[in-house]
């Protein structure tokens, strides 16, 4: 081996290492916020909420709450020392309603008591007088009344009216897709511990410690440097703790600051489901023109998202739906209107995919309907419409597609899942099975990676190397189960060529890493991994410089290897190098910062380069439906997903499988229902059904696309993998439609909405069989 040009084998990245907390998870030793070691004194908070969806709060008699056993404090909007509004981007989210009430379940007051149960019992005792106003609860009504939380936005390219007018074929349609409750297993929870100078330390299960820090400071009327926010891990987040994790911290902090005692605010499951927003449901209208081959010539969309009562993140979420209603297909002439509709319901928020899935499913519906109308296999129509990287490469937002590996993925998947033969076998099965019908669909996913709000695409990290060679790692990302900590540890370990066991990852803290972005947009590893890499590189180059000086070896002859640091002819142990460097007064601590290069989006012109790159994948799903009850089951799913050069294939496969099943729940069994007064009926896991173990398909083949490192210079050429796999579940939903088609002799296009609950499946069959 020639000296100086060594490219040592990776020691840490690319390995299927266990989650850093796996042993703690299985033994019950992993601490979540509510598992905090007992404090000498601690109160528990519960929130009192609005009994009506819309109107005014006239009067509250809180004396019965005050007088209830165990109660130590009760607060309303009037008791907030600082700002009452905690809207994350735009104002409109009061911590407690002051006069105007905008949803049933909106917080009105909070009570602190000596136990959780006493607090909850006391909260039911308030006498609340309100004047009701007519609520808008329904998306269609909000659309009709142009009732919006933010103005509409349009993207367009080419001449849509003309090309629709002159299309060979034209279809207009509507599809509806439901919302989704996050159902993180650990509900919203915060623990506020008062400190010196009016300061506050908040332990919270949230995806955005910096935002929480800022809001707690605002609510308490303190500078941000008086508030520390700590997030060790979440028992699931999925977007539901991006902005909507903050209120509970603010409430706990106000109560803690008033009583001088630590306060936990942990929502009961029902309160959590009622008070917090969900994935946006959408109504998607389309008008599409296409030729005989099924190739789209022009399309016009109107995507209307139900945002609930406040803007929250809805602007960006509806934007992302618009950014994804092309999915993997070139739309020569395209116009997309995105509406942010207001209703008197909880404020809908981020949820894995962030609007992207709701846009993408509209596109896949259009493809299915085109295929149906031409009597073609939908997979053929999909292929006919794919982007390429030359003449069919421009997205509706004018970003050119530089790399496009979907045809390759689809090609591989079609082979490995045996699409053709199974299509034929299913046809035969259906011919002899009048009651049970099978369906098959193979659908792609192309998902843009980066926050579309440009300034969020930055991250910070902090690496300390101690004199014994152990390494302490911090960054702005939070752990919610996605394996961010182990991946970033692998990246840092790789830089020093040490085992990951040498690295300790501790809680995310705003006093260690300031001014962070939420852990969201799948960008956790891309951003924080790079920031950590940059920090580690600083230390490494200091070490190299030091060794070069000390041993009089040119820097290029110094290499970190699994055996130690090769310095010319000698190899020194990492500990030894560190010890010597410390004695040589070299700083062994560094911060790192990273910002994603080259991205921008101009909302004025609806054009730009919002995404650093795209993550891709495809899934083929086979289902069977029971035409007597509408019940269905997923029989088999095959997935190939593009994770670039995976930093941790076990973690990435976990994201793919978990995302897929979560998407499956969204599209098949998870149904949100409200009564006519705006009260959420599906307010517990008894009535809201996320997938259980029997919903995992008996045949589930998941593979990461091999040998396809990211073309963009991401950390170790990996790709983001948190959100995109959720949309692979669209294949199962399309397969249900395919089966309904078989059950109805392919006579009419099945206008299936999501979720495809048994009732929805039966409704569609009934409507086709007996048109009224």
């Amino acid at each position: 081996m020639s000296r100086g040009t060594v490219h040592p084998e990776p020691v840490a990245t690319g390995r299927a290492l266990a989650h850093d907390s796996a042993r703690k998870h299985v033994s019950g030793d992993a601490l979540y916020v509510d598992d905090h070691p007992p404090l000498a004194r601690q109160y528990h908070a519960c929130i009192g909420t609005s009994p009506i969806a819309h109107g005014t709060l006239d009067f509250m008699d809180l004396a019965p709450v005050h007088n209830a056993p165990g109660v130590v404090d009760v607060i309303t909007a009037n008791d907030i020392p600082g700002s009452v509004d905690i809207g994350p981007v735009f104002p409109g989210d009061p911590l407690f309603a002051e006069r105007t009430i905008e949803y049933l379940g909106q917080p009105l007051f909070a009570v602190a008591a000596t136990s959780q149960k006493l607090a909850r019992q006391a909260a039911t005792l308030a006498l609340v007088r309100t004047t009701e106003a007519e609520p808008v609860l329904d998306l269609d009504m909000a659309i009709a009344r142009e009732f919006h939380v933010r103005p509409p936005h349009r993207m367009q390219r080419g001449d849509v009216p003309y090309n629709l007018e002159h299309a060979v074929h034209r279809i207009r349609g509507v599809m509806r897709v439901g919302g989704q409750e996050h159902f993180y297993l650990e509900g919203q929870v915060s623990l506020a511990i008062p400190g010196e100078d009016g300061g506050m330390t908040v332990h919270t299960s949230c995806q955005n410690p910096t935002e929480t820090q800022k809001l707690v400071a605002q609510v308490l009327d303190l500078p941000m440097n008086h508030v520390d926010v700590v997030t060790r891990r979440m028992g699931g987040g999925f977007g539901g703790k991006e902005t909507q994790g903050a209120a509970w911290s603010c409430i706990a902090a106000v109560l803690a600051s008033r009583t001088g005692i630590a306060v936990t605010c942990r929502l009961s499951r029902r309160d959590d489901m009622i008070m917090t927003g969900k994935r946006h449901n959408f109504r998607n209208d389309y008008d599409v023109g296409f030729d005989d081959s099924g190739r789209i010539t022009a399309i016009r969309y109107r995507l209307a998202g139900q945002c609930g009562y406040s803007p929250d993140l809805s602007d960006a979420i509806v934007d992302r739906a618009m950014f994804h209603c092309d999915n993997a297909y070139y739309l020569p002439h395209v116009m997309i209107d995105g509406l942010r509709c207001k209703t008197h319901t909880a404020s809908n928020t981020a949820f894995r995919g962030f609007g992207g899935p709701q846009g993408m499913i509209a596109m896949e519906t259009v493809i299915d309907e085109i295929a149906f109308s031409l009597g073609k296999d939908p997979l053929e129509v999909r292929k006919t419409n794919f982007y390429n990287t030359s003449d069919r490469n421009l997205t509706p937002y004018h970003q050119a597609i530089g790399h496009f590996n979907i045809p390759e993925i689809i090609g591989q998947l079609e082979e490995t899942c045996d699409y053709r033969n199974r299509r034929e076998a299913i046809r035969r099965f259906n011919a002899s099975s009048p009651i049970l019908k099978k369906g098959l669909a193979l659908t792609p996913v192309k998902f843009g990676i980066s926050f579309t709000v440009t300034h969020l695409n930055q991250a910070g990290a902090l690496v300390h190397v101690y004199t014994d060679g152990s390494i302490h790692l911090n960054h702005g990302g939070t752990e919610m189960g996605q394996g961010l900590m182990i991946k970033v540890a692998q990246i840092v370990a790789e830089e020093f060529k040490v085992p990951t066991e040498r690295i300790v990852v501790s809680a995310t803290r705003t006093d260690k890493i300031p001014n962070t972005s939420p852990t969201a947009a799948s960008a956790g590893t891309d951003l924080n991994g790079m920031a950590a890499l940059n920090a580690a590189r600083k230390i490494r180059s200091r070490l190299v410089e030091f060794l070069s000086d000390r041993y009089k070896v040119p820097q290029r002859e110094i290499a970190f290897t699994a055996q130690g640091v090769r310095t010319g002819d000698r190899t020194l142990g990492f500990e030894e190098v560190v010890r010597q460097a410390w004695l040589g007064r070299v700083s062994l601590s560094a911060t790192g910062h990273y910002k994603t290069p080259g991205i921008h989006y101009d909302r004025e012109t609806a054009s730009g380069h919002p995404f650093f790159y795209f993550a891709n994948g495809a899934a083929a799903s086979e289902v069977v439906i029971d035409t007597l009850t509408g019940e269905h089951r997923l029989l088999r799913t095959d997935i190939i997903h593009d994770a670039g050069a995976s930093i941790n294939p076990a973690v990435d496969v976990g994201q793919i499988e978990g995302g897929f099943i979560q998407g499956l729940g969204w599209l098949t069994s998870e149904e949100l229902k409200w009564d006519p007064s705006g009260k959420l009926l599906s307010d517990s896991p008894a009535t809201y059904k996320i997938p259980a173990i029997g919903d995992t398909p008996p045949v589930f083949n998941v593979r990461i696309l091999e040998n396809r490192p990211n073309e963009e210079a991401t950390v170790y050429r990996s790709k983001a993998v948190g959100e995109p796999p959720l949309m692979l579940a669209i294949s199962a939903w399309c397969a249900i439609r395919d089966a309904i088609g078989a059950a109805t002799d392919h006579s009419t296009f099945p206008k299936l909405n999501a979720p495809a609950t048994p009732e929805e499946v039966l409704r569609v069959i009934r409507e086709i069989r007996r048109p009224s």
Partner: protein, 477 residues
């Protein structure tokens, strides 16, 4: 004083509150934080812990939801929590399997899964390996995971059932049995928690304390505490009442004590009535079935209770005991209105009796729900039907989810009885159904769906009984 063994420690617990849940006890009083709360309603399994009881000469392990189980019912048992499985820094095989298969992501569901896996591990493996997948699912369907998609957890489950080894609990089992036998079951009262051990004592307690609530498995009752925030001052626990936990069999009948759990019911009747067995496997989850009882399901009077239609179809009789003695009613005379039963204030359900040998005919049972596992019925149909020469002889049809109470479909029965088992009879029966029922729309389904599905289930029954050639149930694929 409630006496039990917590992991390996003998506990004598003063009951300052009768309605203290096991989860509260563990987390708030013992600071054992490994057991999690995800819902406090028995639906998610994050709070799963294990009870060991001496049966015969051995310990039998059962997983249960600690969030909806009252601490008083621990008396005489060993309570095992996740903290107990690893020993001396070595993970238990089920824990190691979860690590090896990457079975945790956020980890919040994981302790619960580990405890269910532990019970699976301790469960005698079914004779045929082809049932492994079913068994794994049966034990794990009551644990929700929002992160993994379950595949790695299933892999871990398959691994552990294929590789049983002695663990430290086996090695300590003699000691545990001794600890438990020292306690005995005899404790009659602890604070507001009463544990009678025979029906006579129970009748007296019920008479003396009209405000006390009867507690069997608690899977309905505890929700009043955890969801409706009620304080239940006095509880009378039925789990030790001899007459309620016994099963008496004669040549003519089998009398099942009201406190018989659903897992036990399956063992008793599953072989005779395979469709009841299949229903029971979809009743709640293993955690629920391990503690939930026959009497609780009936006394609750819910229109969507799953046993009532089956017992009505089987023409079971229900025996009630009160200060006035015993009385026996036909099952379809027991339910009076929405959540109202024939039970008088001083009465409790003693038993349910079914004729033997089983009546001629076939028992068909259909449960329709949004999710296959651990979901409440949207519609549940049970039917006992006899056929001769293609004609329907007797038929007893009972529906859950179609009215304010579980009810026989008399008009429909009439339309079927004596007629040929064919499509035209089914069409008449369908029409009769809408005279029997005007179902409601609720969070689970619309009235229209319920009615249509009820009719379609009749069609399914006709097709199945006519021996059609094609597949007719998804589960059969």
């Amino acid at each position: 004083m409630i006496r039990f063994v917590l992991n390996s420690e003998r506990i004598d617990l003063e009951m300052d509150r009768a309605d203290l849940t096991v989860l509260e006890y563990l987390r708030e009083r013992r600071h054992l934080k490994g057991t999690k709360e995800g819902c406090a309603s028995g639906d998610c399994g994050a709070c799963t812990a294990v009870l060991a009881e001496v049966e015969g000469a051995a310990l039998v392990y059962r997983n249960f939801n600690s969030c909806i189980t009252f601490a008083g019912s621990l008396h005489g048992k060993q309570l095992i929590t996740v903290e107990h499985l690893a020993q001396g820094g070595r993970l238990h095989p089920v824990q190691q399997a979860m690590v090896d298969h990457h079975g945790s992501q956020c980890g919040f569901c994981t302790p619960g899964f580990v405890m269910s896996l532990f019970c699976l591990y301790k469960f005698p493996r079914p004779a045929s390996a082809s049932r492994d997948a079913e068994t794994c699912r049966e034990f794990l369907a009551g644990n929700l995971c929002r992160c993994t998609g379950y595949r790695p957890i299933l892999d871990a489950a398959h691994q552990v059932i294929n590789d049983p080894q002695q663990d430290h609990l086996d090695r300590a089992s003699q000691l545990t049995i001794e600890q438990l036998s020292e306690i005995g079951t005899c404790c009659h009262q602890a604070g507001g928690f009463y544990l009678p051990d025979n029906a006579q004592q129970l009748a007296r307690l019920k008479h003396d304390m009209p405000d006390a609530r009867l507690l069997a498995g608690g899977t309905d009752l505890a929700l009043e505490v955890t969801q409706q925030l009620k304080d239940l001052g006095k509880l009378i626990y039925l789990g030790n009442v001899r007459e309620l936990t016994e099963v008496r069999e004669t040549d003519e009948e089998i009398e099942i004590g009201a406190a018989t759990t659903l897992v036990r019911l399956d063992e008793l009747l599953g072989a005779t009535y395979p469709e009841l067995s299949a229903l029971l496997k979809r009743f709640g989850s293993r955690q629920i079935r391990n503690v939930a009882t026959v009497g609780g399901n009936l006394a609750n009077g819910s229109p969507i209770g799953d046993l009532a239609p089956v017992f009505m179809a089987l023409d079971a009789r229900i025996t009630l005991q009160g200060t006035g003695g015993l009385r026996t009613l036909p099952m379809d005379g027991f339910f009076r209105a929405y959540r109202k039963t024939a039970l008088r204030d001083d009465e409790f359900i003693l038993s349910v009796t079914i004729s033997r040998p089983p009546e001629a005919g076939q028992l068909k049972v259909y449960k329709v729900s949004k999710r296959i596992d651990d979901d409440i019925s949207t519609v549940c149909l049970a039917c006992l039907i006899t056929l001769r020469d293609g004609r329907i002889g007797r038929c007893r049809l009972a529906f859950g989810g179609m009215a304010e109470k579980t009810e026989r479909a008399r008009n429909t029965e009439h339309a079927l009885a004596g007629n040929r088992l064919d499509a035209s009879t089914i069409n008449l029966a369908r029409a009769a159904l809408s005279r029997d029922f005007q179902p409601i729309s609720d969070v689970r389904a619309s009235a229209r769906y319920r009615l249509q599905v009820a009719g379609n289930l009749l069609e399914r029954m006709q097709l199945e009984l006519s021996g059609c050639e094609f597949p007719i149930r998804i589960g059969s694929l």
